[in-house]
Amino acid sequence: MVYTLDITHEHCPMTLVRTKLKLSQMAKGDILEVLLSEGEALNSVPSAIKEQGFNVISVERVEGSTHKMMIEK
């Protein structure tokens, strides 16, 4: 299944907290699409999620400063 999460209005560390919470509600193999902003979130969340053992499939710009990160649980 594919889930979505918007953390563009969150600040560190709640960006990572919200992402982990969402991932905890998913099954192994599910995909999470996360919308996040440039700066703090883009700099820290993808690497932190990788460190926590999840597979970050891609991170790409959507529009303006908003990026989309795809995570496989």
């Binding site: 560390p13 709640m14 990572l16 907290v17 919200r18 982990k20 919470l21 991932l23 905890s24 509600q25 460190e51 926590q52 053992g53």
Partner: protein
Amino acid sequence: MYDFNEEQIQRYSRHILLKDVGVEGQEKILNAKVLLVGAGGIGSPVALYLAAAGVGTLGIADNDVVDLSNLQRQIAHNTQNVGRPKVDSAREAIQRLNPDVKVKTYNDFLLSDTIADIVKEYDFVVEGSDNFPTKFLVNDACVMLGKPYSMGSINQFEGQTFTHIPGSTCYRCMFKEPPAEGTVPTCSQAGVLGSVVGILGTIQATETLKYITGVGELLINKLLTFDARTMNFMKMNIAPRKTCEICGNEPTIKELFDYEQTACKIIRHS
């Protein structure tokens, strides 16, 4: 799955961030039931840190009332609560800190005929009493019921602690029986540096959270001792004793019993 509300997401965010705790670990903490034996110097920091962590149910057993001389180290209590039962004072402190926590109080001295029914209700026991009979009774009850516990003792500037899970070294493996009366000074005779009970209590609270979440390695088959004067911490390996009277190959203790109380007088509340 635990349904975190918005306040809980904020409150426990630093646990959720930890790789080895995370959402699942916090759920385990919120569902855990921990019994504190003693709401004094050790029990105070344990109660506060476990409450802050969100332990679902905290049981507190203590038959004492708050005395002014306790307040130099027993940080769950305060000046306004002098003369009130420690269990009530601790309950207030816990509920002020975290209303998520359910508190059950036992304003009584734990004895062999009452302890088993209480211990049975909990997942983990933290022993922080000030007397040997209680320490041996908690050990014996937990060994018989297969309950894990953290044991802690303090004297002056020194502390020692270890953790027991079924099958690991128990208090009786190490110490066999209470010391003869008069050979070991009690806290009230020997004094204790206030912050030293905090060092020990926070170690015991950490062991409790490690047990609940499964993080790391517990202090099992080990004894951690420290001396705050030098800040030397020492960890000794101590294997279970085959001749242990309660957990050895041929246990001689088949039912719970009470040692005669020597440190202080037992007052039973009926």
